[in-house]
Subunit: 763 residues, 2 copies
Amino acid sequence: MKKMSKRAISLLLATSVGLTASAVWSAETLQDVLKRRNLSQQDLLAAAKTYVPTGKRDEFVTFSSGGQSGQVIVYGVPSMRILKYLAVFTPEPWQGYGYDENSKAVLEQGKIDGKTITWGDTHHPAISETNGEYDGQFLFINDKANPRLAVIDLRDFETKQIVVNPIFKSEHGGAFVSPNTDYVIEAAQYAAPLENKKFYPLEEFNDKYRGGVTYWKFDRKEGRIVPKDSFSLELPPYSQDLSDFGKGPSDGWSFTNSFCSERYVGGIEKGRPPYEAGCSAKDTDYLHVINWKKAAELVAAGKAKKINGHNVIMMDTAVKEGILFLVPEPKSPHGVDVTPDGKFMIVAGKLDTHVSVYSFEKIQAAIKAGKFESKDPYGIPVIALKDAVHVQVPLGLGPLHTQYDSKACIAYTSLYVDSQVAKWNYCEGKVLDKLSVHYNIGHLMSMEGDSTKPAGKYLVALNKLAIDRFVPVGPLHPQNHQLIDISNDKMQLLYDMPLPLGEPHYAVSIAASKLKPGVRYKVGTDSRTDKPHPGAARAGEERVERQGNKVTVYGTLIRSHITPETIEAEVGDEITINLTNLERAQDETHGFTVSTYNVHASVEPGKTVSIKFKADREGVYPYYCTEFCSALHLEMQGYLLVKPKGWKPTKTSLAKASYTEDDYKATLKKVADTQAVIDSVVGYITSVNYKDFPDVVAMVEDATDQLGKIADAKAKHEAAAGKKDWEQANLWAEQVWQYQVKAADLGLRAKTYLEQNGAKKVK
Amino acid sequence: MKKMSKRAISLLLATSVGLTASAVWSAETLQDVLKRRNLSQQDLLAAAKTYVPTGKRDEFVTFSSGGQSGQVIVYGVPSMRILKYLAVFTPEPWQGYGYDENSKAVLEQGKIDGKTITWGDTHHPAISETNGEYDGQFLFINDKANPRLAVIDLRDFETKQIVVNPIFKSEHGGAFVSPNTDYVIEAAQYAAPLENKKFYPLEEFNDKYRGGVTYWKFDRKEGRIVPKDSFSLELPPYSQDLSDFGKGPSDGWSFTNSFCSERYVGGIEKGRPPYEAGCSAKDTDYLHVINWKKAAELVAAGKAKKINGHNVIMMDTAVKEGILFLVPEPKSPHGVDVTPDGKFMIVAGKLDTHVSVYSFEKIQAAIKAGKFESKDPYGIPVIALKDAVHVQVPLGLGPLHTQYDSKACIAYTSLYVDSQVAKWNYCEGKVLDKLSVHYNIGHLMSMEGDSTKPAGKYLVALNKLAIDRFVPVGPLHPQNHQLIDISNDKMQLLYDMPLPLGEPHYAVSIAASKLKPGVRYKVGTDSRTDKPHPGAARAGEERVERQGNKVTVYGTLIRSHITPETIEAEVGDEITINLTNLERAQDETHGFTVSTYNVHASVEPGKTVSIKFKADREGVYPYYCTEFCSALHLEMQGYLLVKPKGWKPTKTSLAKASYTEDDYKATLKKVADTQAVIDSVVGYITSVNYKDFPDVVAMVEDATDQLGKIADAKAKHEAAAGKKDWEQANLWAEQVWQYQVKAADLGLRAKTYLEQNGAKKVK
């Protein structure tokens, strides 16, 4: 058995010159592969349009709702590779979300009636906009099951805030942002009394049950919703649904559609047909047309009523002030989608074959002229369909949702029952193309397709059923998102993508170039508040403090050790462990858990995280870094010792190993050999313009940090050697080598990066 | 506005003849695309090797640990598309796991010291084997953070059982199965006292801290581990690590390696170098060689000691009985991997440049000859390395884990520090090829690569760092699994796959053809026990029962209604809702939640699930189906009414809608038109050999079921019409149409399926 020899270490330098560089690595030709895999030329074209080779990146990033998983799914287009599941409403241990104290504080904001909710049914994500264009700063998403809205910061892709809707018991129509993201819409779904914890029987449905729409005020600078500056509009119990903000000429207005305006209450057990029959018995439902800018002024003028402490403009006020109107819309519509130019709103009734294109200009003309065909039972003026509609186009069965192309007047509408996508011209009311999808498409989504500047190129069909598309994985199937090329006249189906967790409802895509997330935090940051963490510690500041039965650890993490490596406690102690990740290298996350204590932290570079638990059981509980962070990650460990109360030690020294002077000398030899490798790598790095590469600068900083620790360990091994304490001498010399190995690892990564990214020689 | 007209409905029949069938759908040539996307010919070849077009399926299915997510990740090879995240140790609401009572019962099995654990750190999955070959029946996976093991049934991809290790406080080396899956290995990691809740100081580490290995007995017929028939071996406090079972000539033996056999206790805060230095100071650690078949006999013979009620063979017994031996292995090894023929065990020391190929024959010869170089401090005989090793091969820096090819003597070993994969010949000790990966590969995995019959073809590199490979998504990066073509002499890198949630440690791949999961349950099944669910109800059996303050609902789900549609309770009632999904169509899952009560059920076809909560707040709480199951899924709703205690109604009738005789007649017309569509579809289906397609038979059954409900609704609307009650007449006629629409939807799906799958005309 050899120790790591000079020869072996020198292999370190050879890693980037693999044997494969110039080798002929394939025995099969392209034609062989096509034949073997039974691929057509069309398949090959689709493969070429979607494949992203190693080292290259996707063009767009999609944020998809995760449905009942309570999460947000992030994937790349055109490769359709999922990049991340973001924890939003549901605890998720990989991210430490709900398993550390800092993220728990976010989840606790989402309590309803004082009770913690541990999941959500996320439906509609929205990216923040500036002048109606996606700006890539924030993401909003709603929870249908428990009426709430979350704010995700796209600087670090973390959930920062959850707000609970103050008046709804059910919602669906969020999130949609105003063109400058000053407000976010959350519309109700199933009507209920607006007062919290208030019961009225179904027999009083028409009088006491209400819908509504909430306008959440967003403070972009703070990156948080401001509940006290937010308000709602009371609406009839019509099962409000999706919404959209106006833009351009329609800026200042918002649109919310509805189903079951029949106000039907079903129940086979009461001898009545179910909801599905009674809620779809009439030909039309209502599109709500709301002047939200004026509504905000009314709230400022004190014309709102407080319900559950929240400002609500009641329907009679809204009617009197002229900010609320209805227009009939084809039965049971799903989406209402404002065109990029803000001139039209497209609505599809899922039980009608038509899409209806409403003209904002016509609606305004009717309002100005006071031309209404009737009032609804609550006194809201109803504009006649003929006075509001620009064109109606028969598309097919089950039209649901519409998205826009970069080309003028071009729209795409999903057809649920037909399992098709229709491409059509909404200016001229003409169908241009249809494409079958697999199966039962709900929403669809084009690149930046609900902004003022759609990017075209790709469309994603969010299919609700996959059935036979994938290798079967049991009775519960994945969803299927199908990528469609829309850059040509005819749509081309490119790719079937299974969604492995949760049922996405809607998605939004943004050009990848608009996202500029960070790779590390300022050392000692609480990422959930964006503020310095009171538990932060820098290297050398690690300590354990005890106050009564409260033990507080101020610890650090760096390859490959946790400081402290032993935590001592007595049964019953309340333990808080604060951990700061001292790394600066990209992707050098450490994790932390204490066996069986049900805590977990994910600590990215620079972050500080707290975990807290009661040491309620005597015993020995190992803790460790849960990320494979380095070759010695298994050795990144420690022990929580929970002693019986009043326990006194009888033995006070740890077992010693029997290292000899020869062991010490061999270790010194290894240290010298490794230093030669480091010197060579440093020589390369400093010979090129490495300072032009921020990622390399961070790696060099981390490596320098590791090398900086050597002086102290060297002093220790030399002192021990002076006293012929070969155990301590050898161990501290080994520790010098540990620092060297990490520095060398970073140096080699930096070298590879520089070589691959075209670094240039400098003097 | 038109009602759905005959013309519109007839579109139903046209759906499978899209406009695109014969269209030229692409304006770009392949060369255009390669140029635009800057793809090389090698990229195109890789794309052709990995792309799976719609309607085709992957060749292999991979089960990957989900690391700190506590889940298992299922993905297809070669497309590298993730098919499913399986909930194992962590509650997951999409699957209802931990949000319904039946799955909660599984999670509760995993309590430790009486406390619920809500996550896991899954590491090493294992597929059940028959004669050493993967059989695709069960999957096992361990939890490093909280020593536990889970059983997943691959008939429905659900977690059925969690067992808690009775003696370990930390583990790592599981799960590995014996060639016929009669036992599953779980080996310890960080040593601790074996007794539960027992404290000993670190100063007594060598005497009181112990490692070990547990052999869990698996009952294949029941599909469950049998804890009382399982046993463990006490081992020295050497930080046991990965393990493997022997096979063929080495069947009956198992192998477990270790690191930190220095038994070092670190702690900078005590003036000692950290664990990483002291745990890697010596040149070798120990491979544990165990005769497990004889161990099982010793347990049967009563030679085990009970610790925490569990059978443990103590070290002195194991030594005395000759079932436990040690062999030195290169420092800090990770994997020990038995060759497909069972003749060799390959071990890689991550701080040594060599892999060591141990010969089982040599080890047995040494044991038989009683030829040992020494004993360890616990009296265990140590076989000299030279007496056990077949060959040692220098591969590179940080060798970790080895997998096998279908070609004889060919192995692949991951090199963590070098970020490379080495292909080599373990018979001749020769390096054949190296490939750079991105970055820092941990485990690697070839198709069925740890069975007796590896399938070759593909290799996956499980890289621990992704760094710059993907569009950045914040400081916490995805992992990167790289797919490598190993069918030729030279390895070819095919695909970079981001892992969006959790850090996979190890993975196993099986031919997709070996998996035969079901698509539905026998009606009324509790999928977690595989037994009839006591809360099951069939159509017409739905009811609500009250006993004191306990309200029990026996409900059903079918497109698009929940029965019952109203549940009435008083504040303080304990509510149990049992729901049976009556669908038989594949992929027709329904979900269920009650707003703000923090419950969720995923109810696949045939399944029965219970949810339970206390109605602790007065009010109106909507409930709904959380899956987009049909065009009218939003109407699949109901209300939980929680009344104040003693509340008495004053109004007893629901509001009526004002439908006229004309409405009724129009609905009857729609019903007649739809029937024509149905008749036509039925005509087609019965004209072909549909009975040869089980999926179609299920759809036809469901459709027939829907049509069967029409008689009752028809009788109701005719009776109401007779009484000129046009509201009831119209509503029940609408309900007839609802049943028709669902039948038509199913029929059309069946028709498309038959057309796409080559159904043939019959007489």
